[in-house]
Symmetry: C2
Subunit: 366 residues, 2 copies
Amino acid sequence: MENLAAPTTPVRLAPRRVTITDLAEHLGMTKGTVSRALNDYADISETTKTRVRREADRMGYRPHAQAQAVRTGRAKSIGLVLQIDEHDGQSPFLKDFIAGLTGATSEIGWTLTVGSATSDDDMIQTMARMVDERKVDGFVLPRARVNDHRLNYLTSQGVPAILYGRSNFFAEDTAAYFDISGEDAMEDAVMRLHALGHNRIGYVGGVDVFNFTHLRHEGYREGLDKAGLDYDAGLVRWGARTAQDGADAFRSLIESSKPPTAVVFSTDETALGAYHVARDLGLRIGDDVSVVAYDGIPEADHSDPSLATYRVDNRSAGHKLIEMLKAIIDGAPAPSQRLLETAKFHAGGSISAPRRTSEELRAYIL
Amino acid sequence: MENLAAPTTPVRLAPRRVTITDLAEHLGMTKGTVSRALNDYADISETTKTRVRREADRMGYRPHAQAQAVRTGRAKSIGLVLQIDEHDGQSPFLKDFIAGLTGATSEIGWTLTVGSATSDDDMIQTMARMVDERKVDGFVLPRARVNDHRLNYLTSQGVPAILYGRSNFFAEDTAAYFDISGEDAMEDAVMRLHALGHNRIGYVGGVDVFNFTHLRHEGYREGLDKAGLDYDAGLVRWGARTAQDGADAFRSLIESSKPPTAVVFSTDETALGAYHVARDLGLRIGDDVSVVAYDGIPEADHSDPSLATYRVDNRSAGHKLIEMLKAIIDGAPAPSQRLLETAKFHAGGSISAPRRTSEELRAYIL
DNA sequence: GGTCTTGCCGAAACCGGTTTCGGCTTCCCA
DNA sequence: TGGGAAGCCGAAACCGGTTTCGGCAAGACC
């Protein structure tokens, strides 16, 4: 006996849990019957069902999730794998998002299993491990990319998944998704600025691996179109991710020979970078130059002046993603689970009617 | 050994996983033997072990985690329950922390199960559910409180847990913890300021439900002591949590009749609140008034001037917490798992030798 | 009154692993 | 040469559930 590689003795767990066998014994029936009663099978009488249920929660019975999983193949858990080498930008977003996800999962009696990855390959491997070990029944995929590799992998494996965002430019996705229309917001932003009297409206976009970057840029373009303004590549900057990137882009726009009198940023974070530059140049945002952005991070509200932005409710997004994913896992066809909502405009002190023309602005800066 | 036609399965496209029975069949031995070989039992020959292992990963065998859990009682998962009604302050902290936790859990082949709660009662219930369903083997408890109720519950139930922080003021905790000595940092901050020439050093502390609030305050006190300065309750403010709170506290200190020339904040976030107030009052931080804080959030680095602070590595903290918790789950006595590290000072432009005395400062402000 | 349903539940197999128990070889040594 | 101890593995129980199958009893139908 001592030659067995017995693992070190585990710590004592809670007072022995009540199993379905205990329950069956107390009720004087077989565990099969108890199981079917609890799972609401049609071949169990109403009388028996209520008797079983009552006794179950009198005794504090909770089914052993793992044991159920062995037979049913359902881990009753949703997977979420975070890319952790990424820039910090998802931080503010993360907490609300997780709150939404966990809230919804616990409502249906499931749990959220979180992993992390340091590279694209690692991401796939981490997800593969979770699937192979049957730890999760499906995945939520935040920060959708163009032609998202996670989605490609999972669908090839037949694992249910849902995107937060879209992944196929403007073409209809083949997969399930929940998204908020950034393009509508950008379009609205441009038209709103135009209505205030702005005619030179700049744009600072994001990194092109993310699908939303393309969508929002298209929205900006659409907005110009509806406002009757021409698209001028000189007014557009790309690839901004951090506040610093936003600052650089803003400086390059505002110091150009024909500076914009208003700038639309595709994210709040990059927009806030512009605040420092403006201060440096002696410009007052919301007065000398207007700024609108997108996301609705807390800092946007606390900045001075407060940033006009389109607010995204990540909490409710997380909630809906779980509901939709659950439907897919339960057999709904993925294409039936697609939802696109719009962000709400949140007024702020960062926009106003133009005080100076582009020329005057340039002269003022010099 | 003829191949039967595949049964007509529902939507489950995933290629049927290889089970331990398949593996045993291929190897021509019983699944019991295979299991023991894979789990490195002493009564299996080395030859057989390697043969089994080789075949296992040739066939891509991955044990079904849930099935293992049924017999072993190990879910191979760590629980983390977030309080989601809380102020946003834990956002920046959250991502790094989760990265550390998930990184460490996946290194040992485990996973992280995340839940959320909206109140203290909900917190206990959520944890109870995870334990009862045997979804987790132990908990990491972030944001330790004084006499932490989560810890009390879990130890009463015999469920392994580890605190991120301490929960018993200065008395030795009875439970396991990993923490970073905020008190040492505060003490060092005061002495550092004193060495620069400051003699009136204010303090802005946190909310008293959290244990670290008391520890850091005591560190401040200790620092004064070592610097030979008297503790003056008029220089101390409590209960600051948000940037706004920090701003209010700072204003109240700086507008008092004998303002401090330097202020120690117990968190970066509250310290950054002071920046706005300083600007309003025409004071330059790091010049007219010195500020030191604690945490090392990214914004501290991007602020102008950059904030001198004590940096906490939440990623590595998460990693260590998992290692220590795993040891407890494997049978190590909880009291043996205690670790206290120190935060690294990160210089910033927010401190300098005092330019004005307290009196001059007051006059300057008026 | 006999036959057919229908309702309801027990019995047992099953899910994919782990662990106990015992028996057969082989080796060692008297 | 015999007996005991290792060494090694097969057989089967077990973990806590779910699901299939079949049978009994009561009611419906003719």
